[in-house]
């Protein structure tokens, strides 16, 4: 037993047990301090002062964003699965390099875009300039009717859709890895934090932190899509903005998609059409539920698919689910859940919002 008889005000304040009592954090059956106070009237004043001080000088919490934490944890788990480890040294450099790249990318592209199309025309009239092998020649044009796979000099893989064109920067791999895409392609990029990978399309720039993703940017389409399979991708408008801080930029994580609507000049974030399952659910193997609270079910979906689900926790606290949802796609799972709990869902700004009236 501590010698509380000899305690001064400061001693009480720093005592964890005393603090818990002062902050009413003890279980009600713990009456130690009440009793102690009654049996030590001479210490009464000190106790009251210490108590007030404990209350007044609590530390304010710093607000936390649970989806931010969720994403950060997922990013760590994803990297452990890949078995690649960039190391902080490179990581830090990459951050620096990346901010330079955004800045330079804009200027560079600004000056570059002047002669991009003319160059392409020149290439089109001169067939010898577009030999398609990986020996460093600048352009790939898939005129066949099937998807073509090829490997870039850094080992990254590209799946180029029919009737799509990929031009590779002459300086590819020197300080940055830049390609120019007209059409649709999927990329699987080798991680190299010192040399960011940038995909330029007519309207958008996609900057990659080592990852796989798909760009859909046919000139005749109304919208440009960038969707992410793994890793993290930054997308921004490619217009030469003299102030890069003003350019809109969105960061995509797996199962998210950026859509650029040409007519509105708007860049928005949504969820891909059929999200892939990224992780096993934490609490229930294979989404098998037996009268499981709906909050648990939603948490599993959020974790497994890397999406954010918003719902009224208070309203739906009585809702539970008994079902096995193993192999259905995410949106089918959601539809089944919503039917069970008399709710509906919608997609707003890349997030799932579930509306319901609660359960009896």
């Amino acid at each position: 037993m501590k010698k509380y008889e000899n305690y001064e005000v400061e001693d009480f304040i720093q005592d964890l047990y005393f603090r818990q009592w002062a902050l009413d954090a003890l279980p009600p059956q713990d009456t130690f301090w009440k009793t102690w106070q009654d049996t030590h009237p001479e210490q009464h004043e000190k106790i009251e002062e210490a108590r007030a001080l404990v209350i007044a000088y609590q530390l304010e919490a710093i607000p936390e964003d649970s989806s931010e934490i969720q994403l950060a944890i997922e990013a760590i788990l994803l990297d452990t699965k890949k078995g690649t480890f960039p190391g902080f040294f490179q990581h830090t450099w990459f951050k620096v390099a990346a901010s330079v790249a955004v800045l330079m990318g804009v200027f560079y592209f600004g000056s570059r875009s002047m002669n991009w199309y003319p160059l392409e025309k020149a290439a089109a009239t001169n067939p010898s300039a577009r030999v398609s092998d990986a020996s460093g020649l600048p352009e790939k044009f898939n005129q066949s009717s099937v998807v073509q796979e090829f490997t870039l000099s850094d080992g990254s893989k590209v799946l180029l859709d029919p009737n799509s064109r990929l031009r590779i920067s002459e300086e590819f791999g020197q300080t940055r890895r830049e390609v120019f895409l007209d059409g649709d392609a999927s990329f699987d990029i080798v991680k190299n934090p010192q040399k960011p990978f940038l995909v330029y399309t007519e309207k958008l720039v996609t900057k990659v932190l080592g990852t796989s993703f798909r760009v859909t940017a046919k000139a005749e389409n109304q919208s440009v899509y960038v969707s992410v399979t793994s890793g993290k991708v930054t997308v921004y408008k490619s217009r030469a903005n003299p102030n890069p801080a003003l350019s809109e930029e969105i960061i995509l994580t797996p199962n998210q998609q950026a859509v650029y609507v040409k007519s509105d000049d708007k860049l928005i974030k949504t969820i891909v059409e059929n999200p892939r399952q990224l992780h096993k659910p934490l609490t229930s193997a294979n989404f098998a539920y037996n009268e499981t609270p709906i909050s648990q079910v939603f948490a599993d979906l959020e974790m497994s698919y890397g999406v954010r689900i918003y719902y009224d926790e208070v309203l739906m606290k009585e809702c539970n689910l008994t079902a096995t949802l193993a192999n259905e796609p995410l949106f089918i799972k959601l539809a089944l859940i919503c039917e069970t709990i008399q709710a509906s869902y919608e997609l707003i700004d890349g997030q799932i919002v579930v509306n319901g009236r609660g359960c009896p």
Binding site: K3, Q14, R19, I55, A56, D79, T80, F85
Partner: protein
């Protein structure tokens, strides 16, 4: 100075002990290569570490990068890690070291001539926010703020680890890599300062303060 310096585990730390016991088990199966255990460890400790980190550095993304790498390092050398007796302390210490190491490194890149162990410690007390939120414009509020700024970052860090993370003194001494007596001194100096300000506060703005303590108690 405290009359008693014996380290008695306070009886109320049971929830923390339970959490640590769960952490311990998870840590063991993570070392054996269980990735689910690793994921659960992250869920258990990431928020707590982020909370500490954003107080030590204002650059949230940098803090998250450090955490990211710290956990990847754990994962990549899991076979070499040993059993940890006090996981929470171990994580706080590893993270603190990591953060300072990377800060120095970053600093070195940016401004090669200035390499110091420079960090901040961001804490705000309930009473300050209360007075600010209630728009107490009293001259004394300024003085209170000024006085509280006199707390050194080390004092603030000790207070944070003791009050917020509820660490024992020997744990704090391990985390901050200073000796036990320095920890005790830091906290008692800090508490004296807080107490002195409390007295002034009582005399000068007693209506607010009384209101504060009563309204706070009514919350329960």
């Amino acid at each position: 100075m405290p009359k008693s310096k014996s380290i008695v585990q306070s009886p109320v730390k049971t929830s923390a002990i339970l959490q640590d016991a769960a952490g311990q088990t998870l840590w063991q199966s993570f070392r054996a290569g269980n990735s689910d255990a690793f994921a659960q460890l992250l869920h258990l400790y990431y928020p707590m570490l982020l909370n500490y980190g954003v107080r030590l550095s204002p650059d949230r993304e940098f803090v998250k990068d450090c955490l990211h790498d710290l956990f990847l390092e754990f994962w990549n050398k899991k076979e070499k890690l040993s059993d940890i007796e006090n996981l929470k302390s171990y994580l706080l210490l590893s993270f603190r070291r990591k953060l300072f190491r990377e800060t120095r490194r970053l600093k070195w890149f940016r401004e090669a001539n200035e390499v110091t162990e420079d960090y901040t410690m961001e804490v705000q007390f309930t009473i300050e926010s209360y007075l600010i939120n209630n728009e107490v414009q009293h001259e004394y509020l300024k003085k209170l703020k000024l006085n509280l700024e006199k707390l050194s970052k080390r004092q603030r860090e000790v207070i944070y680890l003791r009050f917020y993370q509820e660490m024992e003194y020997d744990e704090i001494s391990a985390i901050m890599e200073i000796n036990y007596h320095s920890v005790v001194n830091l906290i008692y100096e800090a508490l004296k300062l807080l107490r002195k300000n409390w007295f002034l506060l009582l005399f000068l703005v007693s209506p607010y303060v009384l209101d504060f303590t009563t309204s706070f108690k009514q919350l329960f």
